[in-house]
């Protein structure tokens, strides 16, 4: 899309710019807030604001093509009889069948399994395609409990209790009626075509003391076999992580505000939560103070795009990361192949975020069987596996440059920040100084 250039004598308001004006006009016309997919689009302090200090005289680098840099991670070995052993520390975040097509879920499972990592269910339960194609499948336990049953719970390799997600901490979910096909409706025990609201709180417990009992129940039902994750949207991360650990979590998942969603109010996505960069040090501090850093694993998500992001998250103290939006892009989301169709929807390749509408020409965020055919799950899985391999190799490249023989050996001392904001949030010094705002 091209935006007409205004005559130079006209002055655009910084407060009421064209985007703001268009939103006011849209709101006045429709009477409803804007709902969309994707995650926060505003500029935020992020991993791009950090740099690695490669080895030189004071540190000893590893040879890029000859010396090993391991990538495996074990998740949930504190309480569970069968912890997850992953070959790479990059997992696939929870995304529901319903929000995504069956083909997309299958492709995620195929791609993740090919490189030895895990994928995750979402609201609406577990599909046979997903279970069948996922070597390691994490089963989300959400407030709605749509499709929740003990049979699938026992089929899972781990259980993730979802308290919130980065795109909407404190908010529930909404799957709009246009995506509620017979199959989705059947899995969720609801009439076809109705808007499916997902509650923001769990129906049978409230505070952290109750959470401990809920975790106990899930362990009892699954014979103490499965690692139990607790996922929070990043807000009061320091306290949330401490409470999750105290409640008995094996793994804590922290999702920053750049984390994606299938359908959430724009105002929620852009105005609630804290950036991933700010959340990680809070989580790590909480784990370290409790003496469980590395024994209770930390998975970080929200805006992970490259191996550099993976390496930086791990250097800050994460044991693994999770990707959602980037995984969908790898499958084919926003591909220029569908430029014409995106244009017909009033969007463009690279901008499409109407995941709630169910008209995705890439066949990913849709339940339309014809559109879903546009995604070949085998090819999609292959693309995802390629992408995950690239992320891993990029992270290894950076780790070797820092002299690390395992990704988890990366440390905050390997990082500096480019901006004062990033320095304060990530708690690493501003480049060229030993200054960390708020600390020294």
């Amino acid at each position: 899309m091209t935006t007409p250039t205004p005559p130079t004598q006209l002055r655009e308001s910084a407060t009421f710019d064209r985007g703001v004006i268009a939103e006011i006009q849209r709101a006045a016309e429709t009477g409803i807030y804007d709902i969309r997919g994707w995650g926060a689009k505003r500029a935020l302090p992020h991993f791009d604001d950090l740099l690695f200090l490669g080895a030189s005289v004071s540190r000893y680098p590893l040879e890029g093509y000859r010396e090993k840099c391991d990538t495996d991670v074990v998740l949930g070995d504190t309480h569970a009889k069968f912890p997850l052993h992953l070959d790479i520390p990059i997992t696939i975040a929870g995304m529901s069948f319903g929000a995504l097509s069956g083909q997309a879920k299958e492709a995620l499972g195929r791609g993740a399994s090919e490189v030895g990592t895990s994928t995750t269910t979402g609201d609406g339960g577990m599909t046979p395609e997903e279970r069948g194609q996922s070597k390691n499948l994490v089963y989300q336990y959400l407030p709605s409990r749509y499709g929740m049953n003990p049979v699938d719970l026992r089929k899972a390799d781990a259980i993730e209790i979802v308290l919130g997600q980065g795109a909407k901490p404190g908010g529930g979910g909404m799957l709009l009626g246009q995506k509620i096909t017979d199959r989705v409706a059947g899995m969720r025990t609801l009439p076809m075509g109705v808007d499916q609201r997902s509650a923001c709180r769990h129906p049978d417990w409230t505070g952290p003391d109750d959470l401990a009992i809920k975790i106990l129940e899930l362990r009892e039902i699954t014979n103490w076999e499965k690692p139990i994750y607790v996922k929070v949207g990043a807000t009061r991360t320091y306290y949330d992580v401490k409470l999750a650990v105290k409640a008995g979590a094996d793994v804590v998942v922290v999702d920053g505000m750049q984390g994606g969603t299938a359908a959430t109010q724009e105002v929620f996505i852009e105005h609630v939560g804290i950036p991933t960069l700010a959340a990680i040090p809070q989580a790590v501090q909480a784990l370290q103070e409790m003496g469980v850093h590395r024994s209770v694993q930390l998975i970080v998500s929200g805006g992970i795009r490259s191996g550099a992001d993976v390496a930086k998250a791990m250097a800050l103290g994460a044991d693994a990361v999770a990707i959602g939006t980037a995984a969908l892009i790898a499958l084919g989301d926003n591909s220029p192949r569908f430029a014409e169709q995106y244009g017909e929807l009033g969007s463009a390749a690279g901008f499409y975020d109407d995941f709630q509408a169910g008209r995705d020409p890439a066949g990913i965020t849709t339940q339309d069987p014809e559109l879903a055919k546009n995604l070949d799950p085998v090819q999609g899985g292959r693309r995802l596996a390629n992408y995950l391999r690239v992320l891993t190799m990029e992270a290894q490249t950076l780790a070797r440059a820092c002299g690390k023989s395992h990704l988890r050996n990366l440390e905050p001392e390997d990082l500096v920040a480019l901006t004062v904001e990033a320095s304060a949030m990530a708690r690493v010094p501003l480049a060229g100084t030993n200054w960390i705002p708020g600390r020294y």
Binding site: N149, T189, P203, D204, D210
Partner: protein, 236 residues
């Protein structure tokens, strides 16, 4: 680490005593291939997660009061609690029967997909919250927000219902014999037709409640909030 479980779980005449056995041992016994078809658990003293996750045609009696999530996710089994039950009794039950002879705390039968939950006494707030097919029969009263977002199944209240009954309800059917403090969003009184009288009679009979179906009023969804419309914004 997972609690250590003794291989010699003590049972005598189909009785297991929680003073000498742990919840883990009892649950492991009940989920094992050789589980006794009838078992009485004594001295539960409010234990949590007791007899949860059962998946066989067992008859389990808990002689006393239980804590949270007793008989959670039950399949096929019959579980009877002679005392009171804590939060989330029979939560996410799939099938079978759970009978609480005393009172039940909050969220009884939450998100349950099937089976029958009977509470002889009162059930607190959020009874049947997000119910997905379960039948719940309460001999006394239920607290506020009961059957919130109820998707499917039947909730029968032989006493009174608290505020916001059936808020944001989908297709669950509610029957109340006494008064309703208030109805939640999109929940309305509905006509009691013959088929409703018949199904209510069956439910009361199954629960052992001696009331006449025509003493009850039926409530359900007005289906006005199934798809968002700006004119209904004030209802949310």
């Amino acid at each position: 680490m997972a609690p250590t479980v003794s291989t010699a779980t003590p049972t005598a005449n189909g009785v297991i005593d929680l003073r000498t056995s742990s919840t883990r041992e009892v649950n492991e016994l009940l989920s094992s291939p050789g589980a006794p078809t009838r078992l009485t658990i004594t001295h539960p003293e409010g234990a949590h997660a007791l007899a949860c996750g059962l998946d066989a045609d067992l008859d389990v009696t808990v002689d006393g009061h239980v804590g949270y999530y007793c008989a959670g996710m039950n399949q096929k089994a019959t579980v009877t609690v002679t005392g009171n039950a804590g939060v989330g009794v029979a939560e996410n039950m799939m099938s079978g029967r759970v009978h609480v002879k005393g009172d039940a705390s909050q969220s009884a039968g939450a998100t349950a997909h099937g089976g029958l939950l009977v509470v002889d006494g009162n059930a607190a707030a959020r009874c049947g919250i997000s119910m997905k097919g379960v039948d719940v029969v309460v001999g006394g009263n239920v607290g506020h927000m009961s059957a919130f977002m109820g998707q499917a199944g039947r909730l029968v209240v032989c006493g009174d219902a608290g505020e916001a009954l059936g808020d944001s309800i989908y297709e669950a059917r509610l029957y109340v014999r006494g008064t309703v403090a208030s109805l939640g969003a999109d929940c309305v009184e509905k006509e009691m037709r013959d088929e409703h009288l018949a199904e209510l009679a069956q439910l009361l009979d199954a629960a052992g409640m001696r009331y006449q179906p025509d003493e009850f009023t039926r409530y359900g969804s007005a289906r006005q909030l199934y798809n968002f419309h700006v004119d209904n914004a004030s209802a949310y």
